[in-house]
Amino acid sequence: MTARADDELWSAIGDPSRRRVLDLLVGKGGVSASWLAGHVPFSRQAVSKHLVVLEKAGLISRRRQGREVLYQVEADRLDQAARAMTDIAAQWDQRLGAIKRLAEAAHAETQRKRYLED
């Protein structure tokens, strides 16, 4: 089976600059887009784009405080993301384990035949 992270989650985390934004939010919590823009090497406009993607993927949420919109991470979704990524790595470990068993069995069989022929 191939349980994989859903696309929005995957592509949200797959982008290094979005990871940077997410990182800042994880560290601070409840900050504005302007504050974020002051702490990353890309434009305010780019920050806004990343926030939209992260929010769509459910990794962050926003709340209004006075005249400001503040962003924070969503712990449950973050946890889900972490587990989805671990699952993908675990699937490759399983596949590599299967390749190892198959290749070693094939090799042992070849050795055995060669031994019988000699």
């Binding site: 089976m1 191939t2 995957w10 290094p16 994880v26 090497p41 490759w92 290749a103 070693e104 094939a106």
Partner: protein, 148 residues
């Protein structure tokens, strides 16, 4: 290439040629990967992989026996896998003596398609931290957020 990269490794007690056949022969692939693999192992070849009652197209990229094999897939979607919509799976086999083979597999996906190349490259250079570090941080932080 920027984006999410998953890398795993294993040491196999068999020569690279044997491991190569296990990894690339469609009949063998069906034992470790998909339930059914319909694929010609040639660069640029288009194939199909089935997982239970689902499946998706596959495109072979590099075939360099017995060391490099890569393909793109975008399971479970039906679109043609090209850079930007799919995952690239790359196998690298390194012989260790005559009888053993080190295998590394990486799966990478979703590039920064909305970004101009120069910016893309700059961000990639600046943020070479792998997804594994990020994952560990995520797991730690979500645990903290939970207990907090």
């Amino acid at each position: 290439m920027p984006g999410l990269v998953i890398e795993r490794e294993i040491l196999i007690e068999a020569p690279a040629e044997v491991v190569w056949r296990t990894i690339t022969e469609p009949a063998q692939m069906s034992h470790w990967f998909a339930d059914r693999v319909d694929l010609v192992v040639e660069p640029g070849a288009h194939g199909y992989m089935e997982f239970g009652d689902q499946g998706g197209p596959v495109v072979v990229e590099i075939v360099d026996p017995p060391t490099r094999f890569s393909f793109r897939w975008n399971y479970p979607h039906g679109e043609e896998p090209v850079a930007g919509n799919s995952m690239l799976v790359e196998f690298t086999l390194t012989p260790v003596g005559d009888e053993r083979t080190h295998v590394r597999v990486s799966e990478s996906g979703h590039e920064l398609r909305d970004w101009p190349d120069a910016e893309r490259q700059r961000y990639a250079d600046e943020h070479l931290d792998g997804w594994v570090d990020f994952l560990e941080r995520l797991a730690r932080v979500s645990a903290e957020l939970r207990s907090g």
